[in-house]
Amino acid sequence: MAYVAPGETSLVPPAEVAEVDLYHAKSWITKYVFSQDAKVIAIQYAFTAIAIGLVALVLSWLMRLQLGFPDTFSIIEPSQYYQFITMHGMIMVIYLLTALFLGGFGNYLIPLMVGARDMVFPFVNMVSYWVYLLAVLVLIASFFVPGGPTGAGWTLYPPQSITAGTPGSEGGIVLMLVSLALFIVGFTMGGLNYVVTVLQARTRGMSLMRMPLTVWGIFIATILALLAFPALFVGAVMMTLDKLLGTSFFMPAMISLGEQLEYDGGNPLLFQHLFWFFGHPEVYIVALPAFGIVSDLISVHARRNIFGYRMMVWALVAIGALSFIVWAHHMYVSGMNPWFGFFFATTTLIIAIPTALKVYNWTLTLWKGNIQLTVPMLFAIGFIVTFLNGGITGLFLGNVVVDVPLSDTMFVVAHFHMVMGVAPLMVIFGAIYHWYPLITGRMYDEALGQIHFWVTFVGAYTIFLPIHYLGFLGVPRRYFEMGDTSFIPESAATLNAFVTVVALIVGFAQLVFFYNMARSYTKGKIAGRNPWKANSLEWQTEEFPPGHGNFGATLPLVYRWPYSYGVPGVAEDYLPQNVPPDEVVTDEGPGASGA
């Protein structure tokens, strides 16, 4: 007798509408360059995001060299240092993480996982990528305008972002704002696609509560992004008007380096509210896809059903909803009405509850599993560790009084790098290794993957753990150099030098990853169909790797949830979503049970 799980019933509803014929590319250009195939668009997004991410990596080395060896690198000037930190932050958060999770993984996985042939609006999807590419090019262009890119910090707080005394306050900031606006336009086109595809294009039998958590995570994150990015968009437009036309949305009457400016009556805090109304959901726009993907990695490689699927789904929804009422925890000491602190501290700590439950359920999925320590699983474990650590330090910063001494210290830097830098990158690496055979048809090199994991995980933890303690000491973030400060001991400089050396090693270790990916593409072992013995639909395509249209002549029908691992009575330890009940091979033979 097979155990029937929640969401695991055999009913497949009848087709309500006939299938629409898919767009077919006619030339090489329309197939691989101006492609409307979500899988090609996904690869384009991923390559662009990773390329610009490498720029951010180099920028982080430059700033670490300055912090680690402040007197050695006289070529780095304060204005450049502030430009490095600004561009590093902005690129990592928006142009790498958001684009890679939603544009990259979203495009590749949503249609395959819900059993659709493509996104519902393929042309709009294509335009989405090209507008994103344009946004990236405008961002890169800002490095080459007079004055260089903006050095206002990734938060771009006015007035300083558009006044003299800040690097790039002439051309750089304008290109930054234009690039952000373009990014949001491009994202909106992609985002509408992801949401409508999930809601409208699921194959028969794929109820919402049978979707893999990867799709749930990307789906909720996309809804957040569609609601949050407009706040940044209007903020960017208003700041551009302040800069170019002399409006005063964010600009009060003020002096700039000894000169009276004509602005009057604006409020800098208004920008901060707009920025963080976007900025806090943004954290979850990056985190929720990571939550979803890591759930699937853990389940597949532990050969066990995800623990508490329904709780996991509702936790995603709850976190997504709560993420819109916590934004001002970034502003406890901003000068806003201090009484807001009570409300935002409470909502912020409440959001910890569904988040903690997700961590428990990941570890409980390992519990009683049959854990294969493959490279994706290693990265998933690395994610749990770094996310646990980073989530915990979030409880410090969310609890308003604790934030008072810690805000704008290196503790904040360490916290957000751990929780939304290292942790999501762990998932990205795990996911790339996991789906590499699906995308290329070949396996990566296991040994190189293991080396990559250990250096990256141990190195990143070693970098960011001690930085928290510099924050307790009172070392501020965004300082070009500490100079002579009475409360900072000599040992802090030694620590900074150590961190810089580790950061360089971890950075260079990424070459192992790129080498592995490139070499395995032609030299890797041919992966058989469904090498991980996974249940979700992307591994069940007729053609492997999946071709144009994803599935063969007919779309798959879905009979159960994607987490039927180790179902008692079933012969194999997995049971794909699309195997009809009467074809399930049980211990007694084929088709003997109604699983």
């Binding site: 304060p78 204005s79 502030y82 260089g148 007035p159 300083q160 006044t163 003299a164 005394g165 800040t166 690097p167 790039g168 002439e170 003020m254 002096i255 380096l257 000169e259 400016l261 009556g265 409020n267 800098p268 805090l269 623990f307 000491v333 000068g335 201090p338 009484w339 009570f342 509850i353 903690a356 439950l357 428990y360 519990w367 009683k368 599993g369 049959n370 320590l373 560790v385 646990l388 915990i392 409880l395 410090f396 609890n399 008072v404 704008d408 933890y461 753990l465 303690y469 307790f472 000491l473 009172g474 501020p476 965004r478 070009f480 009475s486 409360f487 001991p489 802090a492 691992y565 330890d573």
Partner: protein
Amino acid sequence: MVVVYALILVAVGTVAFHIFSPWWSTEIASNWGYIDTTIDITFWVTGVVFIAVMLFMAYCVWRYRYKAGRRAAYEPENTKMELWLTGLTTVGVIVMLTPGLFVWNDFVTVPEGAAEFEVMGQQWQWSYRFPGKDGVLGTTDVRKISDENPFGLNPDDPNGKDDVLVEGDELHLPLDQPVKVLLRSIDVLHDFYVPEFRAKMDLVPGQVTYFWFTPIRTGTFDILCFELCGVGHHTMRGKVVIEEESAYKAWLEKQPTFAKSMAKAGTGGGDGLKLVSSGGEAVTAGGESAR
């Protein structure tokens, strides 16, 4: 097995680092010891969870490591366990949040009898203003700022005549006297922070922000700007001297009042402001003002 050892090492190593780290909060010099207590409570609650999850994960990776032919337990849900975990987490959150909110209530409630003084921030230096004998600070206006009147005090406001102005000097404050710090910026955002005091607040142009504290030990402490304010941000430093009431009074006596400084500056009408870069660091960006 390497993973099991690594997880245990990370758990134990993190705690060991926490205990033996030479980098920790500076010795406190204000009344905000409750903030440190809240940090300690948070460390205990989250530390227990961190160790528990890490060791449980290490146990799982060891106990349920892959064996050919073994089957995972098929257990989609365990409502009872999930409710228990939700409940325990909620208790942990309440334990951390409750003291935090009480301390925050103290933080936003300025006590009766707190002495007021003003910190004025500009790129990239600190200035201070004390109310004179009348105990009232005069009104200010950014538009009135000039070479002769760098604080932008309103010359027609009688309350401002006796205001004591401290420019380019250390800040002195009396021991054990609660102070309400009024914060004003004439250009961009800044943040006034002395790590030993634990309390900070942004300076926002166009409005006056505040926080309060009571110095509890004498000494000289570093003031740092804690909100990115342009290319000279890291040079925006100052010093605050906490001393006995009598020494403070003597120091305050020596500082000029607004009336005196205006008299000294003469009656020159002031023909606008020169471009000054006061932070010491080169102003490499822009060169010209925004407009």
